[in-house]
Point group: C2
Chain length 335, copies 2
């Protein structure tokens, strides 16, 4: 039997997960049971949003010690005891940080090779057409309720959710303002067609910088960060403004989260803040993916992937996400 | 000419407004202009929600020094240069902390004496049928989106907004849990038909007390308080829970509000939080008032008024509201 490697949870982290929290385990897959498939991973993603589940305390579905670290992945069926998948099929699903996985034949999306070409890579299914892109799509449209001419401000705008959200916003006729850290990310957003960009690392007064970039105020704040940046954004919201809580990356690693102070603005400005779990929209995924693939082919939606090889580095690369080091969707190639 | 008294803003408060912030001014009304009426106040209210406007900084419509302190009131037209109102008419409107006011003939509701009887006092129009009651009515129904069988938790539940909200909730088939300070208020809520009551002053762990009172979690949190109580309530919210931000009385007097830390729950539990300004529903007021008057006559909605005489004591009584001293709608009688 072939031996594979997978990363498991060795310690529940507090704060940014360091390498001690993970253990690289060698394993040989069990024999296939009826209704199972064996998948050889090609790519898996590193997801800041999964951080909460590592803590294993307040989350019903948190990871236990010894569990494989969760993530989206793309892989190839290399053995099948299911009539739903044949050897050679490519699939997308929650494969985890692993080189191979024995998986039930449920919760996997078969990838039609015809959907992919030189403009839309198969890795897009765990990026712009996967959870990050779908989060942007449904968060902006279902919770943001955008109307042409409105102003959309996005935090962590150079990340895979934010960059997709901003470009979708442009196709809807919005004025789009992005928050990102550093000149390189800001230049990237300008290239993508963002109307204004705020380099939050270069600003001492974030609320003032937001007000200057959005002189008429913000109708929709698409938030991937939380904490002080969210609190400053609340001060720029127009009456009846909508805050889409997509991610709270500044909060996940804190024992005591920073949170927000400007709750009184919810009354004076009739604000709405609402959180999003993209799986609630699972039935509408194919339609959204087809629409976004169309935007990619039309040159209206571009995406960035940051792919490195080698499962060994996953914990180090994961921690780096929280230092703002990532740029585009962070993937690990395992083949 | 008759001389009257009114309270004006002498200093923008920081923290709980003390008596130095107010000045009692004697005045003689100017001559009536076309389209104006002179109103002799019978009752005015003391509103914690108006506190933000006293600070005069971040609010477009904040009070300036010398302005009459704002409040709802009931009064009698004693002189009229308008064909809309005749001498002797009783009206409700934003009269302010004053014994008399020269008012444009707009923004006043003429009170039909036939609507009032021994069950529904005219003062109800600035209480259960006025801003507090309407805030409960529209906040619960339009933002809370209650469904029969759900659990509603209310902060400051013995106040005029909270007590009304809880009773409306019972008529809609909700399980209603109230937070109030002290045994007397808690007993009052039980009398009103609340299913459970939490005396927050007697609890060291508010989140645990909430979880015990709402073992299946909270669907709707109707919040009049904000800060730590709101943060604890977020931990008891069910997935897809709705937080109605009606008041934030713990926050108004703080230079740096306490705010909330549990924003990550907005993602994990798909929470929605939304603020309310009742005047947005002005066109629907008559219908809501008629419905609530019906509930009062049917014995399904009772209300408490805390009426004292003498305009002199308004600032002291106002400060006492923030110490949790009030019980029911706080009114000053000026005749």
């Amino acid at each position: 039997m072939t031996e594979y490697r997978r990363w498991t949870l060795a310690k529940h982290p507090s704060g940014v997960p360091d390498e001690d929290c993970f253990a690289l385990v060698h394993f040989t897959p069990d024999a296939l049971q009826d209704g199972q498939v064996l998948i050889k991973t090609h790519y898996f993603s590193l997801d800041p949003g999964m951080r909460g589940r590592l803590s294993g305390d307040s989350y019903a579905a948190g990871l236990k010690l010894g569990d494989t670290i969760e993530s989206a992945g793309i892989g190839e069926i290399i053995d099948s005891a299911s009539d739903r998948f044949a050897v050679g099929d490519m699939v997308m699903g929650g494969l985890g940080w692993t080189e191979a996985v024995l998986h039930p034949d449920r919760g996997l999306q078969k990838l039609d090779p015809a959907l992919f070409d030189d403009k839309v890579a198969m890795t897009a299914t765990i990026g712009v057409l996967g959870v990050p892109g779908l989060t942007a799509w449904f968060g902006l449209q279902d919770l943001g309720k955008p109307e042409s001419g409105e102003t959309l401000m996005i935090s962590s705008a150079a990340g895979p959710v934010g960059a997709t959200c901003g470009q979708i916003g442009k196709t809807l006729g919005l004025t789009v303002v992005g928050l990102a850290g550093g000149a390189e990310k800001c230049a990237y957003l300008t290239e993508l067609g963002f109307d204004a960009v705020i380099d939050y690392k270069a600003e001492s007064d974030l609320a003032a910088a937001m007000a200057a970039a959005c002189p008429d105020g913000v109708d929709i704040y698409f938030d991937n960060v939380g904490g002080e940046m969210l609190d400053a954004a609340i001060l720029t919201m127009k009456p009846k403004g909508r805050i889409v809580v997509s991610g709270q990356v500044s909060e996940y690693n804190q024992e005591t989260p920073t949170g927000i102070r400007q709750t009184t603005r919810f009354i004076t400005h009739r604000l709405r803040m609402e959180g999003l779990v993209v799986y609630d929209y699972a039935k509408q995924f194919p339609e959204a993916q087809a629409a976004m693939a169309g935007l990619i082919r039309d040159g209206k939606l571009s995406y960035k992937e940051d792919i490195s090889s080698g499962i060994e580095d996953a914990p180090r690369d994961y921690a780096a996400l929280f230092a703002g080091a990532n740029f585009g969707r962070r993937l690990i190639k395992t083949i």
